[in-house]
Symmetry: C2
DNA sequence: TTGAAAGCGATACCAT
DNA sequence: ATGGTATCGCTTTCAA
């Protein structure tokens, strides 16, 4: 038996060997209930012996399902490998796909050109069973375009301009609140923040949490202690440079990656963390434990996020037109060396 | 016209509207030369008007091509989002796929279980047109298994135990040589190295370059100045802790990520970079410019790597059985603040 | 529970 | 240059 034969095996041939019709083999392959047990076993035997694999294209042509999920990361120009969040998300989704026997296709949309070429294919029938769209750098017309197609999709992260879309997100407001609350409990009085880009929902929501916490504890907000970053280490560094002259005793930074930059800036002017100033980040990705001191931060359940995203998407795909889903996963404060001084 | 209709449009319907046969429409769609110019234009018009898209499954069932490339990252348990190299590679490949109108499917193999389930599907006909296999954590029986199938594949990185396989790699030996040469030219005499895991070809090759450079300049090798890391920041830190007591005046570190750890360790004992000790890394990924001082390193052409990988793979897929390809891309020394002291 | 047969939507060969 | 048609390998009614 050559390796060529292994692959050109068809349902029909298996059926013949098993002495049944191809319908029956198909039922066995698809775990249909209506097959006599001994027949099922016989067919299963032959399948195992021959190494038969159904042909994906034939299958999806006939069944109208591809068993493929697309993960779309729009405008990922310099972020995909600059911020570990994206690989982490990708990993989570990939893992969940493996688990459900789905294939993950990855679409990194970097240019307008990419978008023009890709979107029409994405929303065409028979390309993928569903899409997970990373929300951060979503343009204004991206989701509307998607909605014109009939491919089910789920936004990963709260979309700014499409409250009706299905989405899954972490509790950014709550997480940020916890972060700032922690700083307050550390005895800090002058708490600054470096926000994520404020044209993104992560930026807005984490900033919201910051404001809420200050408000809840009667701490007045000081514009001079607020600076907008844009997700990169460099922007964190720059933001810190702007904030430090006003001598805050704590900084809540919107992401771990930016916190790296903040810490770099603080060390540069010779302040000690957490003695002189406390730092809390957000994400809890690997960099958080690769700095000195290790970073207190808000942990996102990246793996659970991916899994839940895939499951929800598959669920949406099954329902003809269900209720909109807005799923929020909780976060967790992880206390390390960068915040508590004693 | 409902959005439903957009997607259920078939070749046949387009053919009817255009008053030609579906063969002709198919030719137009596939850029076949044998179509009269005015007919082509008329068909193209109708396609644009109707928004017709060929059905991928139907297409690949009939043509035996999927227009999908698989990127496989074996045993990526804690590396995929720990070392920015993997996202960078992924990005490069994704970009190239976009360019060639191919879809990228991502397979992260983390467990033995994943491997058992995935490999048979991967090598089955009709799943992908070709595979790019990341070499670093390749088990011994991975490539042999792949070879049993008839899916063309290309290894990204030199595979340790399969010299006959097609692969593409960067010149790790040459790059490491240049790195160490640079340190020698900086006047350093006692040059240590933190290697990548030595059961990987990156590890072996970069170490080889280190040895070659020392040899070329008559510098004796000192076992005490050599320590094996395992790609992570933490392992770099640990390695440096072991090496620093022997007071080297330079360290060539096998990857930027590990160099981050090395620098952390050096700062901890109060040495100054590059005054007391010079550091050179390898990769030139974002972290390289997020440390103080910025890291001198060997730049890999990640983007070009991805592009070349995809092109080569597609090329292999076209040839029935061509000569084995072993492609090596050059590297470039990027001098920043961590090496030259004056 | 099983089998027969009609699609699924394209490609590609063979005529013309 | 164009059209007719067999074919790709499976799913899914519909009958039996």
């Amino acid at each position: 038996m050559t390796s060529d034969m292994i692959n050109s095996l068809t349902l029909e041939m298996v059926a013949e060997k098993a002495g049944v019709s191809r319908s029956t083999v198909s039922r066995v392959v698809n775990n249909h209930p209506n097959v006599r047990e001994d027949v099922r076993e016989r067919v299963l035997m032959i399948i195992k012996e021959t190494g038969y694999r159904p042909h994906p294209a034939a299958r999806s042509l006939a069944s109208h399902r591809t068993h493929v999920i697309g993960l779309v990361i729009p405008r990922s120009t310099h972020t995909f490998f600059t911020d570990p969040y994206f690989p982490a998300l990708t990993e989570g989704v990939a893992e969940a796909c493996n688990l459900h026997d789905y294939t993950l296709s990855l679409f990194l949309i970097k240019t307008e050109e990419d978008e023009r070429r890709l979107v029409p294919r994405l929303i065409g029938k028979g390309f993928v069973d569903g899409l997970i769209i990373q929300a951060t750098h979503l343009g204004d017309n991206f989701l509307p375009q998607l909605s014109k197609g009939n491919v089910p999709f789920l936004v990963a992260g709260r979309p700014m301009n499409a409250p009706e879309a299905n989405f899954i997100d972490v509790d950014n407001v709550g997480g940020a609140f916890d972060a700032v609350l922690h700083l307050i409990q550390c005895g800090r009085k002058k708490i600054a923040t470096v926000t994520c880009a404020l044209n993104t929902s992560v930026g807005v929501d984490r900033f919201e949490g910051y404001k809420k916490a200050l408000y809840a504890y009667g701490i007045p907000m000081d514009e001079k202690l607020i600076f907008e970053g844009e997700f990169t280490e460099q922007s964190g560094y720059k933001a810190a440079k702007n904030i430090l002259p006003f001598s805050p005793d704590a900084i809540f930074v919107g992401s771990d990656t930016m916190a790296l930059g903040v810490i770099r800036a603080i060390k540069e002017i010779g302040l000690e963390i957490p003695k002189d100033i406390s730092i809390v980040g957000f994400d809890d990705l690997p960099p958080a434990i690769q700095v000195e001191p290790p970073l207190t931060t808000i942990r996102q359940p990246v793996r659970r996020f991916g899994a839940k995203a895939v499951e929800t998407l598959l669920d949406i795909a099954e329902q003809a037109a269900g209720i909109p889903r807005h799923i929020i996963l909780g976060t967790e404060l992880i206390v390390r060396g960068s915040s508590v001084y004693r």
